[in-house]
Every structure is written in structure tokens, then in C-alpha cells.
Amino acid sequence: MTTFEVVAEGLGKRYGPTRALDTFDLTVPAGTVHGLLGPNGAGKTTAVRILTTLLRFDTGRASVAGYDVLRRPDEVRARIALTGQYAAVDEILSGRQNLELFGRLFRLGRREARRRAGELLERFGLDDAASRSAGEYSGGMRRRLDLAASLIRTPRVLFLDEPTTGLDPRSRNQVWDLVRGLVADGTTVLLTTQYLEEADQLADRISVIDAGRVVAEGSPDQLKALTGGDRIEVVVRDAAELGHAARLVAAVCGAEPELDRGVRRLSAPVVDRVAGLVDVVRALDDAGIAVEDIGLRRATLDEAFLHLTGHRPDDTREPVGAGRKAEVA
């Protein structure tokens, strides 16, 4: 039987007239990574703050690691760790002092706290910077220190609130590798992110959140399939032939392709991947249209998100219809 490490049923939380969360549901099976994906202000952080006992909620029920969040917060706290959006380390203390402090507060003895701090500094590649103030660390180092602090005692459930926001690609990859390693050791992870790629890379399942509600839930592939599946993309050599090519592709695919004149590209949904590709190649060849590139592209989570919420996952809350560059021929 699957055990669920995180369960939320109908969570609601309002701040005055604003509903930060509105009948929010979530179940995360043990040993998996669940991604909460949504734009700024969608309610991701509110959900994490509730589940980590930092915030009370108005309606619903929540339990983490088998304990009710409201009634047994101490039991929950003893089994979770939180790495927040803003690296929550002490900026004046050194990296080592930070880890020793959190170790002591996790009830490790002085010697044990020191030993564990040394171990984690080495594992996270921070031993050279161990005695420098955390305030002098780079963003990536600080995030690693923050993660290390979460692992002083291996948590059953790890909450990562936008763990790579503001990090360069290299640091982001490091954080991703660390998270994968943790999951391999059996930790359950709840991750919030506004990066679709991050959810795609790390999460077994994803909840798409918008305006405090889960608007879709599924594996990354399932969510991608929601957009209507794969597309065929053609880049022609001569921009003047784009219109002609579009008519041919429309005839094969049975749908009007989207055109991007700037890069001489068109794309159209395709149902039967291989047959569609062959037919398009043949039609273009017969018409003598020079093709620079042609291929099948799987739907991205970006498109899934756009499809589900009507706007892109970054900070914009307005519908993107007007901003969309592609025009329909």
C-alpha cells in the first residue's frame, strides 16, 4: 500500500478579501518528488508555509509525515526540513557555525553537531569557505548551505520553495543533483517552482496552481499531452515560400499552422507522427520548396501551462494572447 507523506484536503486560506488558497488538494506518495508549478502569487508559497506549520489555514485538513499539521505541529517539525525562497541562513555566522547552530537546535550534542557540520560542508563543497560569513557567499553557495542545513537530520519530507530562483545554470544543476541524490535515499520532496524545466527535470508528478487552486495534476508527460500533443515544425529557406508551404502543411495536418515569419518557421499539430512527417516532406518536395529544417517536436510544459492557465508561468498575470508572436495564416 502506498503511504502518503503529504496530504492536503480542501485547504483554504484568505488574507482579507484575497483567497491565497482555495480548496487546495494534494497527495504526495512516499519517496517521490511532487512539483507545485505556478506563477508568482498563485499560492505555492502559502501552501508550503501551511504544510511546514508556519502558517495557519482557515478550512480543510493537512497532514505531513503522518501527523496532523494543526494538532501535532511538533511531530511534523521533527520530520521535515524547509529550504525557503530566500536562503534562510544566518548571514553573520560562518558556514560551519550555521550548521553547528542548526545541529544544536536539532538536539545533537556539541561534538555530534560539529562532526555533522564538517561532513555536510565537505559533501556540499563548502569546506574551503567553512569559516567565512554566509553573507559573503555567492547565491549558489548560500543555497547549498541552506540545503545542507535542511539535511542535518535526514528529513522524511523536504520542502523546497523555489530552490533555484536566481541561480546561474551551473548552480541550478548542482541543486538538482543534490535533490536527486536525496530522493534516491528515500526522502519525499515537495518542490515549488515557476520554472517548467525544473518541474520537468525533477518531479514525478506536478500540480499546476493558479489563483490558489490546483488546475491540473499529473506526470510531466500527461500534462504535456493536455496541450494536444506533438507538432510538426518546418523552416523554409525562402521567406516568400512560407505561405505556400503553410497551405501544403494545412492540407496534410488538417489544421492551420502557426507562422513565425521572422525565422521562416511554421508549426502545426500532428496526430500520426511518422505518417504526417512523411506526407509533409513529400508534399514540400513535390512543390519544390527548399526546406532548411523539419522535425517533430514534443509539446513542452510551457505550452501545457499556457493552455491550462491562459498565461505564462513567469510573473505576468495577464493573458498572453496579444503578446504571442506567432500568427495564424
Partner: protein, 261 residues
């Protein structure tokens, strides 16, 4: 209960480590009272009178002691606000530690800091000719009164930080809020020598009661005035910090619990 004490002590050590690792702040808080001693004691002091006679510098030092305790408000409030704004408090609150530790740790560390500040100032005082004249017992009582005031100020500071949250704002508020208390009081000038209305305000300023009580315990000049608060200085010096604690400690605790709203 034991976890509350252990965690409180861990947090106290954390805050004291801050003092060691970032001593600039402490130096700033040290240099201000020392500057006051030098400027008032040597520059303005030559023109200052002490009601009832006596050395102005001996009159001044107890006032500076009290002022230093009051300005500790800035250190407390900024420290707590910094923690709140940087998300460290969230990490602490998500850990299985005693929730009281954040406040008891702050309070204890500030008390230790105040002891450090007091010892430095006492030495400074001795160097410029101030002394205690009523024996060690009363001198220690005076120090006790000063520390009691500092504890009260700590709780006001914690509450202020929880209310305002933004460390920059806290830094801007504190000095204008604290300065009038020291300016219109008996810290630098005897109220009897002030224009009547301001003199009355000074007499009733609770800070004046503490200063008067400290002067009495150290045996320094400048006692006087026959106003009611001046005659009950000792009582008031004990009473008003206790009142502050009784008011602001529960307010701060409630405000802290409301972080989860």
C-alpha cells in the same frame, strides 16, 4: 522546559557570536556614549551647572549609563527585524525547537551585551574622574537597576521589530523615538535649571527617575528637586521598567504567535 532553556542558551550563544563576528555594531554603540561623555564632560561641561553643586562629570556619568541602556533599543530591534526579514526566523519556526528560544535568547544576549557596555563605561567613567561613593553594595544595586531597564528596553525592542519588520525602517524610527527621552530629562541638565514647562516634563520623564536613583546609589551630585517623582525616584526606577516588561513581553509574545496568521 529543559528544551526551552537549552534552546534559549543556544540562541543566546548565537547572538553573542554575532557580537564577536561583527563587532562594528558594538563599536558604534560603545562610541556614542563615550562621545557624549567627552563632548558634554569637557566641551559643554565647563559651562554647565549642577544644581546643589558638585562636579559636572560626576553628575553626567549616571545619565550616560541610563542613556546607553535606552539606546540598546536600536540593537535589539534591528537584530530581531533582520532575523525576520531574512527568513531565518522561518527556518527556526519550522524546526522542532522551543519557540520561546528566539526571544529568551535575544533577551539574554542583550543582557550580556549590556553588561559588557556597562563595564566599559564604568572604566571610562573612572578615567574621567567619576566614582562611586556609597560602597560596592549600592554600586552593584545601581548596576542592577540599569540592567533591569535594559531588559525592559529589550522587550520594547522585540515588540517594535515584530510590529515594523523592516530593519531599515526600524533603524530610522529608533533614534528619533529615543532621543527626546534623553534630551528632556535630567540626563544632561537638572530640571530645576530648565524653563518651567520643559522642567516639569523632565521631572516626570520616567528616565529621570532612573537617573536620579542611580545618582543616589552611586553617591553622585545632582539630586534635588522637590517634585513628587524626584522624591520617589527609587520606587519609580524599579516600577516603570517592571511595568514595561509586564506590558511589552506579552504583547511581543502575542505578536510572535501571530506570525502564523
Amino acid at each position: 522546559m529543559t528544551t526551552a532553556i537549552t534552546d534559549g542558551w543556544t540562541m543566546t550563544r548565537r547572538n553573542m557570536t554575532h557580537v564577536v563576528r561583527a563587532p562594528e555594531e558594538l563599536i558604534l554603540y560603545f562610541s556614542l556614549p563615550i562621545m557624549f561623555v567627552l563632548v558634554f564632560g569637557y566641551v559643554f561641561g565647563s559651562g554647565m551647572q549642577v544644581s546643589g553643586g558638585g562636579s559636572y562629570r560626576e553628575f553626567l556619568l549616571p545619565g550616560v549609563f541610563v542613556m546607553t541602556m535606552l539606546y540598546g533599543l536600536g540593537a535589539t530591534a534591528t537584530g530581531v527585524a533582520l532575523d525576520l526579514s531574512r527568513g531565518v526566523v522561518d527556518r527556526f519556526r519550522s524546526m522542532p525547537m522551543a519557540r520561546s528560544a528566539l526571544m529568551t535568547g535575544r533577551s539574554a544576549a542583550d543582557l550580556l551585551r549590556a553588561l559588557l557596555e556597562m563595564s566599559t563605561l564604568l572604566v571610562c567613567g573612572l578615567l574621567v574622574g567619576w566614582q562611586w561613593r556609597q560602597g560596592v553594595g549600592k554600586a552593584l544595586l545601581a548596576v542592577g537597576l540599569l540592567l533591569l531597564l535594559r531588559i525592559a528596553i529589550t522587550w520594547v525592542g522585540i515588540y517594535l521589530a515584530l510590529l515594523v519588520r523592516n530593519p531599515e525602517t526600524v533603524g530610522v524610527i529608533v533614534f528619533p523615538a529615543a532621543f527626546p527621552f534623553t534630551a528632556i530629562s535630567n540626563v544632561f541638565v537638572s530640571p530645576e535649571l530648565m524653563p518651567s514647562v520643559i522642567g516639569t516634563i523632565s521631572e516626570w520623564n520616567p528616565l529621570s527617575a532612573t537617573v536620579a536613583a542611580i545618582r543616589e546609589l552611586f553617591g553622585n551630585p545632582g539630586l534635588g528637586g522637590d517634585s513628587w517623582p524626584a522624591e520617589h525616584a527609587m520606587l519609580l526606577a524599579v516600577l516603570w521598567p517592571v511595568l514595561l516588561i509586564a506590558t511589552f513581553a506579552p504583547l511581543a509574545v502575542r505578536r510572535y504567535q501571530r506570525l502564523s496568521r
